[in-house]
Symmetry: D2
Subunit: 353 residues, 4 copies
């Protein structure tokens, strides 16, 4: 199989860097171009010494981003850019016939109005919203196969949607009153020179932020509403934790079926277990924890896996579900590569194990 040529626009942020890592080592693609205004002219190896062991890193140089040029270099273009900016590249690239996998929020929503509500500016290319596919392979695999524009999900949404959607679809939980409490590593804030993310401001610090209306709520709620068949509004609290990578999400659900004894919990537990197994038993990147272990970000760091574990609490009648993922891999670049694999007909885990 001839390798597919790919490019990364915005390759110097944390998601961009992780795309570089994954695509340099991918068996079926050739990394044809990486862009960065800041590092234009330098090789990958100069900017990221950790990739210097890969021969391609010593020849491939960052360039200024140019859609026309990129369209000549690459069949598939990954956009690792801020929202608003991503759309400006997506439009001409699609026009040139490229397939675009966008890691920004620009094409994740179906509604331009919701986009404006959460991102505080008009959508730059509303016509494309209907054509974009939400790049969560576990739910949109078929659509991704033939997509020209994949909107790769946000890190928090991935950590929330994968544990929640199967339960909603199966009608096992009430769509009301869902709470998602998420803990994210600092790479989620991006490689931005801001005082808030300096080592000494994050180390030995634990804090919430973006409360109560974080932007990711828009795509989370849109997807949950689709799964539930009814509008879903959730409570979402993100926290910043002093680790480089990882999101741990704790979800609080009200099961539709009442339970207050161990016996009733066991019956319900069987259904939950069956629901998750049906959804994920054959998924290469979803790991269901069925024993005593609970999800831990260190088990997934550097991998495209998401761990999901759960507990029923007969004292409160609630179902707790916990998930752990690497925010930069399954929460961003790994998932984008997974979508690319589907798009290209590669084995879905190619370059991801």
């Amino acid at each position: 199989m001839k390798p597919r040529s790919v490019a990364i626009v915005g390759a110097s942020g944390y998601s961009g860097e992780e795309l570089v890592r994954l695509l340099l080592n991918h068996p079926h693609v050739e990394l044809a171009a990486v862009t960065s205004r800041q590092y234009a002219g330098q090789t990958l190896a100069q900017v990221f010494p950790k990739f210097a062991g890969h021969p391609r890193s010593r020849t491939l140089r960052f360039t200024d981003p140019n859609a026309d040029l990129l369209a000549k270099q690459a069949q598939i273009v990954f956009l690792a850019l801020p929202h608003g900016v991503a759309a400006q590249f997506a439009v001409p690239l699609l026009g040139h016939g490229c397939q675009v996998i966008d890691l920004s929020a620009d094409f994740r929503l179906r509604s331009a109005a919701t986009y404006k509500e959460f991102y505080a500016h008009d959508h730059p290319a509303p016509d494309l919203l209907a054509k974009a596919v939400y790049g969560l392979p576990e739910f949109y695999r078929a659509q991704i196969k033939s997509a020209m524009l994949v909107a790769s999900p946000g890190c928090y949404p991935t950590s929330i949607l994968l544990p929640t959607v199967p339960l909603l679809r199966a009608g096992l939980i009430k769509p009301d009153g869902i709470i998602a409490d998420s803990l994210s590593g600092v790479s989620g804030a991006g490689r931005k020179a801001e005082v808030d993310y300096l080592f000494c401001e994050c180390n030995e610090s634990v804090r919430a932020y973006g409360v109560p209306k974080h932007r990711h709520l828009s795509e989370i709620e849109e997807q949950l509403s689709l799964a539930a068949g009814t509008p879903v509004v959730i409570q979402f609290t993100p926290h910043l934790i002093p680790v480089n990578r990882g999101i741990l999400t704790t979800l609080y659900f009200a099961p539709k079926q009442h339970f207050s004894t161990a016996a009733e919990a066991a019956v319900l537990g069987e259904k939950i277990s069956a629901c998750y197994r049906e959804a994920y038993a054959n998924e290469p990147f979803v790991r269901l924890l069925e024993g005593k272990a609970l999800p831990d970000t260190k088990n997934v760091a550097g991998t495209n896996a998401i761990e999901i574990g759960w507990r029923l609490d007969p004292r409160t009648g609630r179902l707790l579900v916990l998930s752990a993922e690497d925010n930069i891999v399954k929460g961003a670049s790994g998932q984008a590569v997974q979508s690319m694999n589907i798009l290209c007909g590669f084995e879905e885990s190619a370059g991801l194990v």
Copy 2:
């Protein structure tokens, strides 16, 4: 004022060490004895070099714990021991007329049955339960003044009760459906040689534990039930976070008063604000955040302060309250010293600023 003589039983754990720090520098007490089977014979300065600047640390030696001897040395004895063991020292010390401030869970509950349910053994001294005072000064100041036995609260309970009790007492929130999601530094696990708490097992790791029935639920629910005047059952999820110190708790409440617009939220917000101000405006260690800032453990590390901030979410109709404390200070040893100050008639913040 002649200094009061105090002793610490179990002075080599993290809470014991922090008691040493606070009591060495306390203006009105003399640290008369510190015990530790492991370090018996060594000076404080040898075991804890960081205290070596204090002259007393170079003469005071750890001894094996002996209640009879301690009763001769100290008027007030702090117990920083595992549950079960603490009661074994409290009984003879009280018999000798000492005042006891116990940092373990042994005397925090009013019900021996609840103790057995959560701690899995019979209570070692059930007769004392009625005599013990729950050492949360903000709520039990009057009782602490004349107590012989103070049961200093757990770290998680402190972080949950201080934000919750005033709202329950004022009838502003429903006593049902409360969720407390807590993030704790690793010192909360104690200075125990266990693989789970090794640096490499905790660093770059975020995980929940003790789900869904952590032992601290027993005292949290007992106190909340007293505040609400009705039995309260909550959902509590503790997580382990790679910081040395600090607990951040995120609380999810349902206000009794419905609100769904910004105007309604403003009205309700005034009530919440007033409720907290009434409860805490004169409290030396409770810091109400009224502006944009949210609690952050780094703002309270090393201090006896607890930060409390809150947000109303008109989208969900929920009230979010966040608190940050140092688990070893306000969550343990600082609070114990605060109780001692009350007990002895010292200024409440003596040795704590």
Copy 3:
């Protein structure tokens, strides 16, 4: 005693913040003014919530720096500014009769030529160099007493000079071939929004920098030369370590006296021990480790202490000396306050224990 009024120019960096902490709690001073262009108009409590427990923090507001105004407000002014800028404030403040304690490098050197060599611009006020006193109390206590301008030493120089100068003065080590290998916490880089000091760039990273000619060499070598009575050139390698605070320095010396057996080492060891004891036995902030323990930054974090320990290696004939300090306290702001205490005739440890 009427409190002395003090001001801090540049109070929002890490050294400035630590000065705030120390001076707010100092028994003999009143913090009269704090400046910060960025935060002008905000209270201390708003910018640094952790100081909110101190009443003064809720009334004292940051102002734009203005030397004329500061001279009216304060008798003593601390400058926590970048080099070059500090001198611009020192000149008018001294003209107004203020005593100035400068934490920058501007007045640490006696030679304007050396300044230019290391700081790459002409000295902004060379006439003042002869009037400034190097604020290392252990060596310049007498001169500090009557100084108008104290040049508080750098963090690395403090960690190197305190262990080295007594040995050089006593002629126990050769002035040639000294190596200082230092490991610093990230706060040493200041509260600057630069990518290199983001959490994810420092966490899980260990690296050297400023090799081989770091600016601090200028003051280190000037002071060592004075102590040795002969020009001293040393090798100095600073490293960045993922901790908030602390410098650990490992020094490699060649003793003048040859030794290669345990017996010879014991004889020499007695001399070294005596030398250090003579220099530091009565120093409140120098802690000599004489047993098995080696210096550890966690023993000095948050304190003005420096730990010094040493080993003779009969295999190599070398003397290893290790020191640990808090780079922001003994390495910066604590030491500056110590100088102020001397200057004002306060007890030297006032506000520092």
Copy 4:
């Protein structure tokens, strides 16, 4: 090519775990057995959830170690055991015809007397010392090819020998007076339940240990002496740093050729550069930094690479060389796999990229 069957004895420590990771994903081997007394009976996936994505991890169970059985299961056996214990397995395994790659110190030295001096007990199998090959592929590739017993080097020795040996062999530096100052992540202490390595004891702590005669000196000096053709004694100071992985070593050398000007430094620099290039230009895992960048452990974490950078200091006449490696990969398990690849005739980087 039929896969080679391999086993790991002591697979639950940090080196063992990393061997599992590397061998599970190795294209030419099958992991036939893993032993651990503590986890016998459990699957790899149960003990290490992070490997659960690999099918083999769900079927392969830890067993009690048994040399006779292992010899039937595996052609190549990795020993990740404490020194002293490793030899007890090596002897029978070699007797059964297995090839043994030992990660302990048991076979790294040629001299049983040196072993006894540094490890404080008689060598358990002195006859094997002459047969063992020191598993540093860059220097012993030819011998490894036909070895039955490979003694894989220690983590510190690897970080010191790779930068030093070429310079000694080329006669560019004096063999006297070498200093190696090393900073290691906490995984180097192993997965041992000891208080010293708890999160709270290591986080926010920087300290030296094992000064001045760390056990690794024995193999370092033996290898350096072989390279220099004369006995070499060095100064070595290991430090513990709060990162999971990585060793940064700073080496201080005296070049034989005197230099004190930039011009002289440039001439000497050419020779050093040429020396390193000759030694390592074709080495897959040695990365020579020739520009402004200095080694950083984050560039090598998780990889088998070692970064080497250097600076000449005309002020002191010294050559500084810095290296960065992952202590568990190139410093332990990765290097062991590299040796296995050589032994088996696989591509040397198989399973290591």
